[in-house]
């Protein structure tokens, strides 16, 4: 292994991670400085829910595609979401396995699992790029960051797919590109919309608390007269 590859697998990733963590810390600190909005109306609803129940329901919605009309009526989009995010997890995990636990990659089964995950995510990424460009509604709401983030992730998946066997016998180009992309990705994320997951627990908790207090969450699937208080 060349020094350059060693550097990009280790030092570069560590620097990128520290940078990412620092910017995340600053972002969260900035976010938490905003005053929490107060509820103005008294608690409402049938009494069968409360802010805590609302929070739990709201946070769990992501795993319940049947609960929201948008995901219920677009199961294919929901499946894409799952595949895409599993790909992110797989690719990030791979960037740790290669330098710190390469033994795992001697199992062809394990390599195949990683490749299926990132390969499927890459296909979804391409589909999403096409959708972002061709769907007038999505195009109208897209920023350069939206386009760039998607292209970045999709290319990153492609290189993760190629890097998964951890074989540099044919040259270090692929591995080097994968780790450079990973480092760039880690440093870019906090500045881009990819960092949405940082806010996700907050937005969902606040919304759940609010709707729980108003008797809206958990959404009721039976008539009010059948609800026990």
């Amino acid at each position: 292994m060349s020094n350059l590859l060693h550097l990009s697998e280790h030092t570069l990733q560590e620097v990128a991670l520290v940078l990412m963590a620092t910017v995340y810390y600053l972002r969260i600190r900035w976010f938490l400085k905003w005053p929490l909005g107060k509820e103005r109306q008294p608690a409402t609803g049938l009494g069968d829910t409360n802010p805590k129940k609302g929070e739990r329901y709201s946070l769990g919605l992501i795993a319940k595609p049947w609960a929201m009309e948008s995901t219920r009526s677009k199961p294919f989009m929901y499946a894409q979401f799952v595949v895409f995010h599993l790909g992110v997890v797989a690719s990030i995990t791979l960037s740790f396995i290669i330098p710190y636990g390469p033994g795992l990659l001697t199992s062809s089964m394990f390599v195949s699992v990683i490749q299926v995950l990132v390969g499927a995510a890459c296909i979804v990424g391409v589909m999403r790029i096409i959708r972002r460009i061709s769907n007038p509604y999505i195009r109208a709401i897209s920023s350069p960051d939206d386009h760039f983030s998607l292209i970045l992730l999709t290319s990153w998946f492609a290189f993760a797919f190629l890097a998964a066997p951890n074989d540099i016998s044919g040259g270090e180009g692929i591995m080097l590109t994968y780790f450079l992309l990973t480092a760039f990705f880690l440093m870019y994320v906090p500045f881009s919309k990819i960092s949405h997951y940082l806010y996700y627990p907050f937005t969902r908790t606040y919304l759940g608390r609010h709707f729980g207090r108003r008797g809206v969450f958990p959404i009721r699937r039976k008539p009010a007269y059948q609800v026990s208080k």
């Binding site: 900035w30 976010f31 938490l32 905003w34 005053p35 929490l36 909005g37 103005r40 109306q41 008294p42 409402t44 709201s58 919605l61 992501i62 929201m68 009309e69 948008s70 995901t71 009526s73 677009k74 989009m77 979401f81 769907n135 007038p136 509604y137 999505i138 195009r139 109208a140 709401i141 897209s142 920023s143 350069p144 960051d145 939206d146 760039f148 500045f191 919309k193 949405h196 806010y199 996700y200 907050f202 937005t203 969902r204 606040y206 919304l207 759940g208 609010h210 709707f211 809206v216 959404i219």
Partner: protein, 288 residues
Amino acid sequence: MSSTKNERSYKAQKVIDRMGQKLTRQMVGSLTACVHCGMCTDSCHYVLANPGDPTFAPAYKADRIRRLFKRHYDWTGKVFPKWVKAGSVFTDEELQELKDIVFGKCTNCRRCTVNCPMGVDLATFNRMARGLLCYVGIMPEGVEYVAKEQWEIGNQMGVLKEDYVETIEWQEEELQSEMEDPTAKIPIDKPDSNIVYVINPREIKHDPRSILDAAKIFYAAGEDYTMPSEGWDMTNFGLFNGDDELGGAVAGRVYDKVDELRGKKLVISECGHGYRSTRCEDTSKRER
């Protein structure tokens, strides 16, 4: 006052400054977390009613407000404005355009909110944007007129106290004749009643028969109730123009009168928004 692109109009500057005072963490979360996935698009009735026009998409409308937030309150937008579609307002004409979006293209119904995987709540910051524009006197003409009446006269149709009282007395006479009971009453400002009954000014101004109908029900039920001579308007245009102060003042007047009359319960007549606004716009934190 309008201005050129480089210098900001007085109103535009006020809107930007006030935004910083009105933002809450919940709003900032919603302004920051949108991933532009478009999952909320079909949930908006405006989108369904205007097929093929992406400017009605919730995220598109939200971005008209979001761009200001990013440009002035989020450093990603300060450092890379074009990259994250951040932008500002400079002229009163631009504020008018924003008005057409926040008042005219969104009802704050929250269907997009409950369909957003990220939990982005457009309605909350759309209301804030309405309030910012209202603060500098920019809002739809009808809303402006009605809000002014609520501020100045105390009810949205500018009904004077003597006209209100006269109309109730007229309905009381109708009640006596229909019930064939000369003692039947529509009590005004009767202290210690079980119910304080408040109404929509439309009933006084355009169709007082609904007051008579309610009076008949109270009569038949033998209810101990009263109508207040002031603080009787349960409609609330603070809910619509985003003016928190107006919202609090109008709802507060109703509760103040209930307290003054030592009424036990507040009953609100038919209205599309009156119940909700009376319940939630009052900021006094009193028990109710």
